[in-house]
Symmetry: C2
Subunit: 230 residues, 2 copies
Amino acid sequence: SSLQVGILDVDLCGPSIPRMFRVQDNDVHQCDSGWVPVFVDQDKSISLMSIGFLLERPDDAVVWRGPKKNALIKQFVADVAWGDLDFLIVDTPPGTSDEHISTVEALRPYKPLGAILVTTPQAVSVGDVRRELTFCKKTGLRVLGIVENMSGFVCPHCSECTNIFSKGGGEELAKHAGVPFLGCVPLDPQLSQSLEEGRDFIQEFPKSSAFPALAHITQQILDGTSQQSS
Amino acid sequence: SSLQVGILDVDLCGPSIPRMFRVQDNDVHQCDSGWVPVFVDQDKSISLMSIGFLLERPDDAVVWRGPKKNALIKQFVADVAWGDLDFLIVDTPPGTSDEHISTVEALRPYKPLGAILVTTPQAVSVGDVRRELTFCKKTGLRVLGIVENMSGFVCPHCSECTNIFSKGGGEELAKHAGVPFLGCVPLDPQLSQSLEEGRDFIQEFPKSSAFPALAHITQQILDGTSQQSS
């Protein structure tokens, strides 16, 4: 039996998740128990809510200051008919500001399992994630671990690997901060293409270099969170 | 004679510019006319202001909602002793929210030349920049042009080019929106390394693939803005 997973996209100015699942033209409807999220798969095991579904035109700019953003995030948590979920995954923009504060506040009653921090290998990105670690400590949010994205590129022509953005910053930071390092995701044109076209990466590219990396990270997260809830 | 350029980093939650110039350990001092920005070169032709200089520790998280961010951005424009500048470059985070609204409002009395929008080639990123175009239209900010970053990677081992994140999204968007396309910047490990270590890219890697691309873009911007001011 598959898990029921909800995805909440709180990147209000850059809602890119609907396109990655190829459901960007869907509308959100109201039912008695609130907004009905959009199911992205035939099995209806993954449901998604995003401001992208609420804009009239895809080019509409969300020129909102903090208070309006905060109100919508509260609604996204409380007024969406999520149903029984095994996991709710919240995708935030980078930073430690309104979206993050509001999300942590809105989810507090539901005792969130924790945060997964994603960095690229460079020091400038690691610096941002160091600040996000401080944010988690301040707000009492457990850190499930750190992921290093865009970690090396294997040339499809000659199979040599180049660390375009250097390498190892994520792992080093995890060690330094005493939190789990969940793994590296390489730069992979097949993964980019899947996200770009809203195709099913797992079905179409099972031999891609990013696939074992993503499977490993997912397993680490499942292991870490089942320990916590048991 | 070189131009006097000010750089204002309004990415308050992720201030990465100080590290890129290797001045992250500098402090900002007060003088009679306000905060003194940090000069990043020996000739004192480039001055920089960033919240990075105001944090006690580099890991400090800026857990600020909008109003505090807005107040600081106003101060960064009005209370910094910028001196006589030929250009003030403002680097914003992605999006169309507090930082962007406040910057446009604070700069309005100075009649800003316009905005340069940076996208990566993928549709998800182009989507964000389409919303930023709408923001510029709404706020009456001229669009100087669009830059496509991370546009293709030339393998240093076999010299074959791979478009890791597809290609052409920036140029297509510029055509569609009727604004100038300023050029493409390829993925370039030497450029990443320079930014990572705060080294002078122009001096150290004049033969890099990104160099002619950046020179071309700069010239386009200078041509476009001199037409406007003459």
